[in-house]
Symmetry: C2
Subunit: 373 residues, 2 copies
């Protein structure tokens, strides 16, 4: 596939790290071994047993937890898990609380459902739970019970920060108190630089309080469309009533499971080294090219750098100039719960090469300078 | 995977026909060739270009038509196509006309949406279009505009019959007259015994009147989860607004496309021979074991035989006895739009071996005899 320009958009991992050779071998082995008896059957709503096993193993080894494969459903990326959980729990016009900045796809699903999205302020320590408490009290006074609290507590998209341990405990406590389900989107949980991210809410909250979404898209590739949700039986049964696609590919699943059985953590360690180097090069380039005129907290993990530009930046003009120069980043507005046109840009740094990162940022600097009011 | 009992349920093809060896080779080739650049990207709502190409080719060569790959979206089996099209066109409580007997999955989706399902009588020549005309007139007088007409015109599930050419033309004309979209489910279109099934409605109706659902599940295996919808841009755009899963596996898609490029029609011809033999053995066994006490029109194609049992049969008792003897068929009631407990049983005949078919029918005969009121 030909590359056009500088791709800083989308949650795409490093292409060179894609384990094509090992997956081709895994395909040989798994497809020949399983053959017709597996593939002429429907995978079922929760999907292929071998990959559910690996998803549970991944979660348990990362979280020092003991989720069972019965708690796992394989989905078309974590995206389908989000869609199913939201549709199962959010009635048309229902109220959903979420970090004020969050994944645009989640906002898209919520808006498609005409959900009332209430943004909760978020900072370097994640969702502001004092603000959350106030909002929940206000809703209770108004007699409104929220349908869901959506959060990306670890390697938050777009900011790259973690929710602090205190806030995590507070969030769980508030969700208990107001009896609201938490949708935990941890799709970037395996990508971190330095210390391991804090534990998932799902591993710490009482059973039934959290539905968890994870994926292999960010460490292998979104083209696999292999993610998963983890939830206790009561929640799983309810969510699966919204699923009518016959399940996610057992063919892709057994092949990936075959690969992961041997190589999961080794692959994650190796790709994280490469992704970390790309993050460092991006942060350096922003520093050298733009110095004081932008601000960015180096992300602790994930694939994104959340870059604050000067307040007097004409965002529309900036994005137009960038596109004209074939530098593709995502406008901050896309991540804002209320669609505010905030002076931020999200850079996705795992896909472009080191040179593309340096060149892209240099062009970005020119476009930014030319876009001041 | 261990076999338990006699599996006459589900739309499963012949396991021995699954092209494991060729798919393993295709995987080698395609995965190595495409590698990271393809698989770290999202396939997008309409999915992988190579498989869309093959889906269009399959349709055009079977239908003497000229659908473009732009009209194709790859889905998790035709099931996801049905789910998306129905959700896009049927509001909660909307009216949907369908053959009185139809695919239980479609009925499940419609019931989940609280749709008002109106069954149209169906016989050996498909949906009774005179009855359809009356129902449509009645609805018009009541000021109700149906949201959708659902049909399985070819190798109808469960009856295995085709809609006649006259009725097809009448159906199209009525849908035009009442301005209702037709959902054409042709997921068994490639499986036929003897002459080629009649042309699809999509190939004959004015553009925009029909949304078409097809699949590779029935000729390769449902475990692939690779089906597709075909629709003109206006319909496609509308339906894709309901899709939030990031698309169907590009990984599974390119591998299957690689296989189909070389082997599509040859594979279909070979498997149809095997499936036809299984059909013949089932029909013979029903005749020898049950003679006059059951009636079944030999299916013209597809994977199912629709077997009428004596009216005085206690269906609940019959199904219980069958299950106790590990003979798994599907109760006629499951296919009835209104859930009527009709004296029919559906046999799926491609999955079991020839001996399992003979033994299973012999046991069925005992259970049936013991279940008369």
């Amino acid at each position: 596939m030909k590359r056009r320009g500088y791709m800083f958009t989308g949650g795409m991992p490093d292409p060179a790290s894609f384990p094509a050779e090992k997956l081709a071998e895994a395909a040989q082995k798994a497809v020949r071994r399983e053959g017709g008896e597996l593939f002429v059957r429907y995978p079922g709503d929760q999907g292929n047993a071998a990959l559910r096993e690996m998803a549970a193993r991944r979660f348990n080894e990362a979280q020092r937890a003991d989720a069972s494969p019965e708690e796992v459903a394989i989905t078309n990326g974590s995206m389908q898990a989000l869609d199913l959980i939201i549709r199962a729990y959010v009635p048309r016009g229902g109220v959903v609380l979420t970090e004020e900045l969050t994944y645009m796809g989640t906002l898209g699903i919520l808006r498609h459902l005409d959900a009332r999205v209430v943004g909760v302020p978020v900072d370097e320590n994640g969702m502001n739970t004092d603000a959350l408490a106030e909002i929940l009290d206000g809703l209770r006074r108004a007699g409104v019970r929220p349908a869901l609290i959506n959060t990306v507590p670890v390697n938050h998209n777009p900011t790259g920060m973690h929710m602090s341990a205190e806030r995590k405990q507070r969030l769980i406590q508030l969700a208990e108190e107001h009896d609201v389900l938490i949708l935990e989107d941890e799709c970037y949980g395996d990508i971190y630089f330095g210390e391991h991210p804090p534990r998932a809410l799902y591993a710490e909250a009482p059973a039934g309080r959290v539905a968890y979404a994870g994926t292999f898209s960010k460490t292998i590739g979104p083209g696999m469309r292999l993610g998963y949700m983890i939830a206790p039986p009561s929640v799983m049964r309810h969510v699966m009533r919204w699923r009518w696609d016959g399940g996610t590919s057992a063919f892709a699943s057994v092949i990936l499971a075959e690969f992961l059985k041997e190589h999961m953590w080794e692959h994650i360690r190796e790709t994280n080294k490469i992704v970390q180097q790309k993050r460092n090069v991006l942060i350096e380039a922003l520093e050298t090219e733009l110095g004081g005129s932008v601000h960015c907290n180096p992300p602790k993990g994930g694939l994104f750098a959340w870059v604050k530009v000067l307040d007097q930046t004409d965002m529309g003009q900036l994005m137009a100039r960038l596109e004209a120069r074939q530098v593709y980043c995502t406008r901050g507005q896309a991540f804002h719960a209320a669609g505010a046109d905030i002076p931020y840009v999200r850079f996705s740094f795992a896909y472009p090469s080191l040179d593309e990162i340096r060149e892209g940022v240099a062009i970005f600097a020119e476009c930014l300078q030319a876009s001041q009011r």
